[in-house]
Amino acid sequence: MGEIILKTNDLTKVFNKHKVLQNVSIELREGRIYGLIGENGAGKSTLMKIISGISFPTEGSYELFGKSTEREIQAQRKRIASMIEQPAISPDMTAKGNLKYHRLMRGIPNEELEDEILQLVGLAHTNKKKAKHFSLGMKQRLGIAIALLTNPELLILDEPVNGLDPMGVVEIRQLLRRLCEERQMTILISSHNLPELYQTTTDYIIIHKGQIIKQLTQQQLDDACRHYIRIGCTAPEHCASVLETVLATQNFQVMPDQTIKLYDYLDNLGLVSTTLFKNGVVITQFNLQGDTLENYFLTLIGGERHV
């Protein structure tokens, strides 16, 4: 486990008597990619704004790189970068001009960095084209380029693949993974779509109506969404023996409620049921179970599941 980069303690934010965030407590550790998932209006951007210093919590506190006072946190912000809601760019400047503006603001002397980063995000070809003439995807790339200028230790991205074409989504996904692996960068990335983040993130924070309702790792999510055949029977030991000897599989689990989760033969339920029956297993329950990522997310937030 890497060191704790960010820790929030019961963060609450109230806007016009409406609680946008309620007692949000999360921990981000070094070198991991966290997906912050929630519907529109769930509080994702508000949480990111508070961490970035653009907004202030009504109650609660947070620690950035282990520092907790306002002055210390402000100093630590030099180690983070963010792009919230939409890329903050100067529309009348070129991509390179925008990068130079931000490079000067951060006091970075290396002029070659501009070209390197433009190359990295795929905007090296834009030359004298002004940012106001960029497509939404190009603006997103420029926003990410600006965020990467300082080689931050914590990168906060609010819906960064919005407006990107499928190829662009793949490129940004690969870029984020590479940054995480090569530079041990911690990334907090938001989306309202769990499947969209599935191939990028290592950890998930699910937020709903301003509250954190679940925090889980990729492994835990995989387990939660894994498909299996649930077998209920009178003698689970005998059933397990038949699965091992006759069907030659050990890819199953005997659960505390004495049912069995079988992860093989998902597309051949007939063979499993026939084999168990022929070998004297009395079946009381037999069905295919498991969730799609989308349904799992909808179940968590209490929404309507897709059939």
Binding site: I54, A75, I84, S90, K100, M105
Partner: protein
């Protein structure tokens, strides 16, 4: 904070708006000089004085200063560029002060054409007139008091300070209102209202007395080379105190402000 100033100067000088504003002030200063010279030497009709006053520094700097403040600050709120210095670890105080420094540097650059023509006029042995109405650099140019080189420079610099102080209200408006239209309209209405107060001191007695302690007082917008050192010192201190108060108010309004 030096980096903030540097980056804002880079952005501004790479924008068309700044160069358009500079072109306007150059054109207006030449026109102001020419018209006041023509009227002063009876080669132009006195009725042109109202046109000359319209394009003189007092009117132009009011509009240009407000536009400059919106360009520097409101556009950053619109494009969300204001997020970046905060995320980069700059304090809100540093952001306000750096914006003010950039604002004053650019304002001085835009005022240079008016300063230059006024200085040229002061060195010429001739009469300038705008037919009775004059304020700001135009007032210095048309007041028939001759002074030394040093006095001319000092009075021009103090007049520039008066503009700095008056227009720093635009910074407060820009950080508070955040919308360009509101800032330009708000400041223009304020300056018009203060002009009325100065014109009718009996009607707005209390307000007039209060304004007399600010750079908007009539005595500061109608300065001339013959003013005493004491008056100039008071003008300078009034401007500096006013700027400090307005900057403090600006910081207080932005200190804990939510940014969309």
């Amino acid at each position: 904070m030096f980096n903030l100033v540097r980056s804002d100067l880079y952005k501004t000088t790479h924008s068309k708006i700044f160069w358009i504003l500079l072109t306007i002030t150059i054109a207006c200063s030449i026109a102001m000089f020419s018209i006041s010279y023509g009227i002063g030497n009876n080669s132009l009709n006195m009725s042109l004085g109202s046109v000359g006053f319209l394009i003189s520094d007092m009117n132009m700097m009011t509009i240009i200063g407000a536009v400059l403040a919106t360009f520097l600050i409101c556009s950053d709120f619109d494009t969300k560029n204001i997020h970046h210095p905060i995320i980069s670890g700059y304090s809100r105080m540093q952001i306000v002060v750096s914006k003010a420094i950039v604002f004053w540097i650019l304002l001085f650059t835009l005022a240079i054409p008016f300063i230059v023509v006024t200085f040229i006029g002061l060195t010429m042995d001739t009469t300038f007139s705008m037919g009775g109405v004059a304020a700001g650099y135009l007032s210095i140019l048309t007041t028939s008091t001759s002074g030394t080189f040093g006095q001319s420079i000092v009075i021009l610099l103090i007049m520039t300070m008066v503009y700095f102080a008056q227009l720093c209200v635009c910074l407060l408006l820009a950080f508070t209102l955040r919308k360009a239209v509101l800032v330009v309209a708000g400041y223009y209405m304020l300056s018009m209202f203060l002009g009325q107060v100065a014109s009718f001191p009996e009607t707005f007695e209390l307000l007039h007395n209060i304004i007399s302690y600010t750079p908007f007082a009539g005595k500061y917008i109608t300065m001339h080379v013959g003013m005493s050192s004491a008056d100039l010192t008071i003008a300078l201190f009034t401007c500096m105190i006013f700027m400090l108060v307005v900057m403090w108010l600006t910081y207080m309004s932005f200190r804990k402000a939510e940014i969309k």
